[in-house]
């Protein structure tokens, strides 16, 4: 179908760019899926710009994955001439489209994208105004200006470096003033963040790394301005501009952002943007924001219940795995209460809304928990913790040098005092952290472990407790191992089982039908599904029953096998044909590959816990993987998990939480570091500090190991910078710090640290095979 659309429009080049374009082709979309885009309120919120002629809109397209995708999406105008222009940002998977307002509607565009296989993902978050990437640009402005000033000041300082004695005093003065002029934007614009951060730190009675940095910058600049105005020369302006330039470079280095990933997701990303309202016999699609208490809604198969409500009509089979993590369907009959976040499986139901979306149980969870700002008193970064002592020592040296020289000469004493402050500027220290951790961040991301920022890596190295979630994290739901134990089934029998199970929406049925994967055109009659019992149907006179032991009426299979399965941590589904029990399907949870090795290598060093929303049927198996010291807790609600982490933290532990679903969201955000495991990084991840692709989970211990090594590199580079400081301070206290000496020493120490950290992180990563 896609090919047809493309061929009609002469876009077959699509197939020449990559071998497997369109591999993520989704099946048919429902006709009304984008009906909500016709609502002018929603469409206005989505549009970036609109007037009577042209409009611009930006869609997030998760299925974009190759060069062919870019090519096709950028040639959208050939599929529909009303589209004027389309531009792809591949890394953030965004497509911005300019179109003729009169000719095509937003809904048509969304449907056009969906027909060629690129369904735009529109979530509630998009409606609330998007944050622009201006902060990113600001840093580039600053670097541009600092680099410009740094270069020109260096150029103008050359006569000083080469000790060329300018014969004309006027020339020397002009140079000095031009230099002063160039340095003003560096001081007032580029370095402003450091003062702001230092001020904030002092205000909170906390000396961060920016405090000594700000003192150093202030001393450098102040002293240089004084020298220029007094006519002594340009002072240390070159060192000053260079220092700021390097610091900003460090900032941009640590600022690797993963545009596609969203670490701050809340329920709004998952909730539908619109709901189907039932008014009498009519169905109308309205935006979720217009939903009122008392409205009646239709929830179709696979749709999420947006707000707490009462089941009004139909047979509810609610999958609460979104909230609780347990993938067991809950059966509801009309009149029963449904909670937001549940997913209806099966036939259409009608519900009446009881509470607002923001007041519902699940959303309350988000509002109640410490989601806003987490306090991390437990772990401070190395640079910040050392800067307290650093500042005190420097001030002590400066004052004592001042006092010593005071007895000899007041002028020299002041010069020495300033010189100590200048040379003690911890630029190398301030650079070591962003460069080391920025590098680690890149190495991690190459291995599909994406951390929100560099602080996470440092925190990762300092943890002492690890808490795992079970379902979805340690075990895989999708490829649960299925075994049939009993009489061998003939093909036609398997066919019947497959057809029968494919008609049920129960997770176990679906697993069996996926496992058998037989297509057939058998016609089933008298299909009956008894919730939490089993299913039954007749094929050509053969009655098949699949379900619990009592349901299939098994007499021959004794309780012996039943107790067996309790140990084997599996679900058992019995099968009988014409009331003769053929055996049972054993559906066991599968642990992720390499998980037990990974965990057992961590048990010596860390306190380990396991929290599971499920019952304790697997306790023995898990206890083997974890050692005896580790505690395994079962039947934990999302709230229990959160409280558990809180308790660990209040007892002084530094906690790492590894989880996957929304049910872990509270615990993930409460822990010091929360890592969410994702099968596919662009899909479903709750708010967390880092996202790890499930396929790399078995190397998790290596990531922790490497973060520790990174920290060691920072310590070492701190040693290097201290070495330079001692040389510099030695010169400074003797009153011998010339501008030239400073101009050589300060960049040299910065560059040494940068080179050292970059090389050593690369080397270590190769050694533990992360590169």
């Amino acid at each position: 179908m896609v090919y047809q659309v493309l061929n009609d429009n002469n876009l077959c080049n699509y197939y020449t760019y990559e071998n497997h374009p369109g591999s993520t082709q989704k099946n048919t979309i429902s006709k009304n899926k984008y009906e909500f885009l016709d609502d002018s309120e929603i469409s206005n919120q989505l549009l970036d710009f609109s007037d009577t002629k042209l409009s611009t809109v930006t869609f997030f397209i998760p299925d974009m994955h190759c060069a062919s995708c870019i090519w096709l999406l950028e040639n959208l105008s050939r599929l529909n001439p009303a589209v004027q222009n389309s531009r792809v940002n591949f890394l953030s998977k965004k497509l911005s489209i300019t179109f003729l307002t009169q000719e095509i509607t937003l809904r048509k565009i969304a449907e056009l994208l969906a027909t060629i296989g690129y369904e735009p993902l529109i979530s509630l978050e998009d409606l609330e105004k998007k944050s622009e990437s201006t902060s990113h640009r600001k840093l580039y402005y600053k670097i541009g200006i600092a680099g410009f000033s740094f270069g020109n000041i260096m150029l103008l300082s050359f006569p000083e470096y080469l000790a060329i004695d300018a014969s004309s005093e006027v020339l020397k003065q002009t140079f000095a003033y031009v230099i002063l002029l160039l340095s003003l934007p560096v001081f007032f614009y580029c370095s402003w963040d450091y003062f702001e951060s230092a001020y904030k730190g002092i205000k909170q009675k906390f000396i961060n790394i920016d405090v000594p940095l700000a003192i150093g910058i202030l001393a450098l600049f102040g002293r240089s301005v004084y020298e220029v105005l007094m006519g002594y020369g340009p002072g240390y302006m070159d060192s000053f501009a260079g220092l700021i330039f390097f610091l900003l470079l460090g900032k941009i280095f640590q600022q690797k952002t993963f545009d596609v990933l969203n670490f701050e997701r809340n329920y709004k990303s998952y909730f539908p943007i619109s709901v189907t309202l039932s008014k009498g016999k009519e169905e109308r699609i309205i935006p979720l924001s217009k939903l009122k208490v008392g409205d009646r809604l239709f929830i179709k198969n696979g749709e999420l219940i947006p707000a707490d409500s009462i089941l009004f009509n139909g047979n509810g089979n609610i999958d609460y795995s979104f909230v609780t993590g347990e993938s067991v369907l809950v059966n509801k009959t009309p009149g029963e209460k449904l909670f937001a976040g549940g997913k209806q499986v099966g036939s259409k139901i009608e519900i009446e809304v009881l509470k607002d979306v923001s007041q519902s149980y699940l959303t309350q969870l988000w509002n109640n928990f410490s989601f806003d700002k987490k306090n991390d008193a437990g772990i401070t970064s190395f640079a910040n913790s050392i800067s307290k002592y650093f500042t005190v020592v420097i001030l002590f040296i400066a004052v004592s040098a001042f006092v010593y020289w005071l007895s000899i000469d007041v002028d020299i004493a002041t010069t020495v005092f300033i010189a100590v402050l200048i040379v003690a500027c911890p630029c190398a220290l301030a650079l070591s952290t962003p460069f080391t951790l920025g590098n680690s961040l890149r190495i991690f991301s190459k291995n599909k472990f994406y951390a929100k920022n560099i602080n996470i890596i440092e925190k990762l190295a300092k943890l002492d407790t690890i808490v795992f979630d079970k379902t979805g994290t340690i075990t895989v739901q999708s490829e649960a191992g299925i075994e049939f134990i009993g009489v061998d089934l003939t093909f036609s029998e398997q066919q019947m089982v497959s057809t029968l199970t494919s008609n049920s929406t129960h997770p176990l049925s679906r697993q069996i039908s996926n496992h058998l994967n037989i297509k057939s055109d058998l016609i089933l009659e008298d299909f009956i599904e008894i919730p939490s019992q089993g299913i039954k149907a007749t094929f050509n006179g053969n009655t098949i029953k699949i379900g619990s032991k009592d349901f299939v009426n098994s007499v021959s299979v004794k309780t012996k096998s039943h107790s067996e399965f309790g140990k084997a941590n599996a679900s058992i589904v019995y099968l009988s044909i014409n009331d003769e029990v053929k055996g049972y399907y054993k559906i066991s949870n599968v642990y992720r590959e390499g998980i037990s090795e990974m965990i057992s290598s961590l048990t010596d060093k860390y306190e380990m816990y396991l929290l599971s929303g499920d019952n304790d049927s697997e306790k023995e198996n898990l206890q083997k993987i974890f050692n005896d010291k580790s505690k395994l807790l079962f039947s934990q609600s999302p709230y229990d998990k959160l409280e558990f982490i809180k308790k660990l933290k209040s007892s002084g532990k530094k906690v790492l939480m590894v989880g996957d679903g929304l049910n872990d969201a509270g615990a993930l955000s409460e822990s010091n570091v929360g890592i969410s495991i994702a099968e596919d990084i662009t899909s479903f991840t709750p708010a967390s500090d880092a996202i790890l692709e499930a396929s790399e989970f078995y190397r998790f211990n290596k990531f922790i190991d490497f973060s520790k090594k990174s920290l060691r590199i920072i310590y070492l580079s701190f040693g290097i910078s201290v070495f330079y400081h001692i040389i510099g301070l030695g010169a400074a206290v003797q009153g011998m710090l010339s501008p030239l000496f400073a101009a050589v020493l300060m960049p040299l120490s910065s560059i040494t640290v940068v080179v050292f950290t970059t090389l050593s992180t690369g080397f270590l990563a190769k050694r533990i095979k992360l590169l």
Binding site: A67, F90, N152, F175, V178
Partner: protein
């Protein structure tokens, strides 16, 4: 000696021009997406079929004449 001052002013002016060009480039969004343009440049301008059709028609006309 004043020639060197003029020289310095000129050099700074030129460098300033480049600085403004850089700032303008950032502002226009060139630093926002550093990957897609590298792919985009590889797409060929394909031969335009509609044009060749017209040519064919012209030829046919000429033949019929």
């Amino acid at each position: 000696m004043s020639v060197i001052i003029v020289l310095i002013l000129f050099s700074i002016l030129i460098a300033g021009g480049f600085l403004i060009a850089f700032l303008w480039a950032v502002k226009s969004g060139q630093m926002d997406d550093k990957y897609t343009p590298s792919v985009r440049i590889l797409f060929d301008d394909e031969p335009n079929k509609s044009e060749s059709k017209i040519e064919l028609k012209d030829i046919n006309k000429n033949v019929s004449k």
